[in-house]
């Protein structure tokens, strides 16, 4: 299985680190897309089939929670694994996000191993 992955975060540093973390795993990755907020991500999702999506919560334009709520309303969270990587949190929020269909939650900072495990767990992908 070769993966297409979408990273949604307003921080260019986080996008670069996450891209790097994904590249050093043994996962077979075809393409990594990047978006700086929920609106940009929606445009990418309209044109691309993505296997897993990592999103931040605190972002300008359309924040992560609004973005996930939109995905949930559109029924996308049923087939597209959504993993939140964020500094914002608190147990009530995590619970609310799970009800919207979020499959995983990572509190920053993250490690490449965490990311690899999440991809394998939620896509069924094997390592190369």
């Amino acid at each position: 299985m070769s993966l297409k992955i979408l990273i949604v975060d307003d921080s260019i540093t986080v996008r670069a680190v996450l891209r790097k973390a994904l590249r050093i795993t043994n996962l077979a990755i075809t393409e990594i897309f990047e978006a700086a907020n929920g609106l940009e991500a929606m445009k990418i999702l309209a044109e691309q089939d993505v296997d897993i999506l990592f999103t931040d919560l605190v972002m300008p334009e359309m924040n992560g929670e609004e973005f996930i709520a939109k995905l949930s309303r559109d029924g996308l969270t049923d087939r597209l694994p959504v993993v939140v990587i964020s500094s914002a949190g608190g147990s009530p929020r995590v619970e609310r996000l799970r009800e919207l269909g979020v499959r995983g939650f990572v509190h920053k900072p993250f490690t490449p191993e965490q990311i690899e495990e999440l991809v394998i767990e939620h896509t069924g992908a094997g390592v190369r």
């Binding site: 307003d10 921080s11 260019i12 540093t13 986080v14 670069a16 680190v17 790097k20 605190v58 972002m59 300008p60 964020s86 500094s87 914002a88 949190g89 608190g90 147990s91 009530p92 929020r93 509190h107 920053k108 900072p109």
Partner: protein, 156 residues
């Protein structure tokens, strides 16, 4: 003397700096704190929930480039993008704040964070910040850094 929340902030800031940016530091007494003539920059994040306030991180701009390089696993010389330095400071503060707020109000309470702001910091403003009782001084990889915690008075 440490004010409310400063001990939590101090421990978390050093821990996150180490884990995210591979930088090591120590608190420094204000009377021994030495600033440099280099330009300084500042990022702030507001938080709201059971506790409301603002966390502000100020540092020489050169240090931000090192933070960016360390996070990305590159040499500072490889980074000629000023935006990355700005972004790295904002992200470091964002992650620190995300750990500080649960430390202040407890894990079971929801909270919101603002998008981190960024600005250049004039030397006068830096000196004022140094006088603020909510400011903690650090040396991070031998570079001076100021971290300020301001808790809103009307917060529960």
């Amino acid at each position: 003397m440490m004010y409310f929340g400063q001990e939590i902030v101090s421990v978390i800031f050093l821990d996150i700096s180490e884990r995210l940016a591979f930088m090591f530091g120590d608190p420094v007494a204000k009377e021994k704190f030495e600033t440099t003539g280099a330009p300084w920059v500042q990022s702030s994040v507001s938080f709201s929930g059971g506790t409301c306030g603002t966390l502000t991180l100020s540092a020489p701009r050169d240090l931000c480039l090192e933070i960016a390089a360390n996070i990305l696993g590159m040499d500072p010389e490889e980074l000629d993008d000023g935006l990355l330095a700005e972004d790295a400071l904002r992200e470091l503060l964002n992650v620190v704040t995300g750990h500080v707020v649960p430390g202040l109000q407890g894990e079971d309470e929801a909270f919101e964070l603002s998008v981190p702001s960024f600005r250049m910091l004039a030397s006068g403003a830096r000196d004022e910040l140094l006088e603020d009782p909510g400011t903690i001084c650090y040396e991070l990889d031998d570079s001076p850094v100021l971290l300020n915690l301001a808790i809103d008075d009307d917060a529960d």
